[in-house]
Amino acid sequence: MFSETAKKELEEIRLKYPNARAALLPALYLAQREFGWLSPEAYEAVSSLLGVPKAITRGVGTFYAMYKHKPMGRNIVQLCTNVSCMILGAERLVDFLKIKYGLEPGGTSPDGQFSLVIMECIGACGTAPAMLVNDDFYENLTEKYIEEILEKYK
């Protein structure tokens, strides 16, 4: 279920648009925050709050890469491996995360601390390689820097 705060937030968001349907993407973000991931229950909740049929809601949700369709670790490491990052060593960092933290792309570390999501370009090519941990940008990454960063989130 959506918390009362989330419901209120959604009502406010709803006012930004000429119809309820347009609030679907923000509503899915809210649901993801509330449920941790877009579970069937999350979709049902969004559908009933916005009056959008649930098969449609799920169709829309699964179209977008940033909505998660399985439970996630407490922190989401979103590492870019697109060309600019790749040529500056992003692949090595993927290997590093695997070896050091047991993080497979698309997987969650055994301790449930981190999930690793491989990203397409995140707009930090000038400071590649780069990643987002949850909502925070980290750029000019090295193995050592990653260690420092992840330490903060433990």
């Binding site: 973000y29 977008y64 979103q78 040529i87 995140i122 000038g126 590649a128």
Partner: protein, 419 residues
Amino acid sequence: MEKILLKNIENPNSADIAEYMKTGGYQSLPKALGMQPKEIIEEVKKAGLRGRGGAGFPVAMKWTFASADPKFPKYLLCNADEGEPGTFKDRPILEKNPHLLIEGMTISGFALRAEYGYIYLRGEYPAAKDILNKAIAQAYEKGFLGDNVAGKGFKFHLAVHQGAGAYICGEETALIESLEGDKGQPRIKPPFPVNVGAFAKPTVVNNVETLSNLPYLIGTGGEAYAKIGSPECPGPKIYCVSGHVEKPGVYELPMGTNLKDIIYSHCGGIKGGKKLKAVIPGGISTPILPPDKIDCAMDFVNMPKHGSMLGSGAVIVMDESVCLVKVCYRALKFFEHESCGKCTPCREGTGWLRKVLGRIENGQGMESDIDLLQSIAGNMLGKTFCPLGDGAASVVQNFIKHFRPEFEAHIKNKACSTG
């Protein structure tokens, strides 16, 4: 050149409205509101402003179409989806100079008689979202947005709509679908958004950088503005350079700056003095150029003459250590991931290309694979619903066109010779 778009961004408080106003911000808006909407469009026309989102479409023309449509309300959408790999030119505006964009949008909104604006912001820019929301709140507070903008009786409301990770939403009709709460799949055109866009109303979609030109353009006037940059596409341009250069980053330069100069003078040349192997000049969808082809003015009109495109002005520089088969494979992985799935050639073709490139990369390619790649790409090019599929096909074609021996070597040696 004086900085127009990236003005003041080194200032840590540049995103704050007070700072912005201190340095001359929100002065063009009242001026614009004192003009007739038509006059503003006329200035934009004189300025010769072209869209900075990639296609370089003349802004005044688009605006004229939307203004001519009698339906109301009209919508102004700012394309802040910045998804083209290699591109990071809008981000500094969004994060460091949000009021420039807001002022630009408000002016544009007035010119279009649009009452509602949305900034379609890619989901991967969470920081920008907070910054924009804060800036919008400040602008409301100061009366630069709302039911009575700057006390001039003009109503303009602005909100941020956050995307959720789909490159295709940068395409304007997909963006509209996504704004309306649907999958970001392109729409059939015609009707064009200027007539039937967001919520079936006349809609203009412009890039962040495009709209951010407006305060300066209106401030100095179209004729003065047109003196900056190349005559066919005037104005300042943000080039964003990544990869193997000494000083990667964003560079605001006059439109039409030579690519070679960008790399060698502005960015300090190839990193570590290595040899240049290839340059992708305008984001990954634009044709790759070998080192001998980079002496060209970077603008919308000139680049096609050199076999590439300005695109988003995202220059990716690759030195000799880079395996281009791998880059090509990675690019196709991107296109496969981002194909929206609506049309057959792109949905099936991107995956197929990626698979064939993958086996070449793995050393399992066959001699016939290069022909196969060419043929698949040829079967896609020009047959897809939107330019995304064309982009995927042309990447493969251009990589092979300029670097065929590297592909052949990969297949023959069953391994990469680059290392």
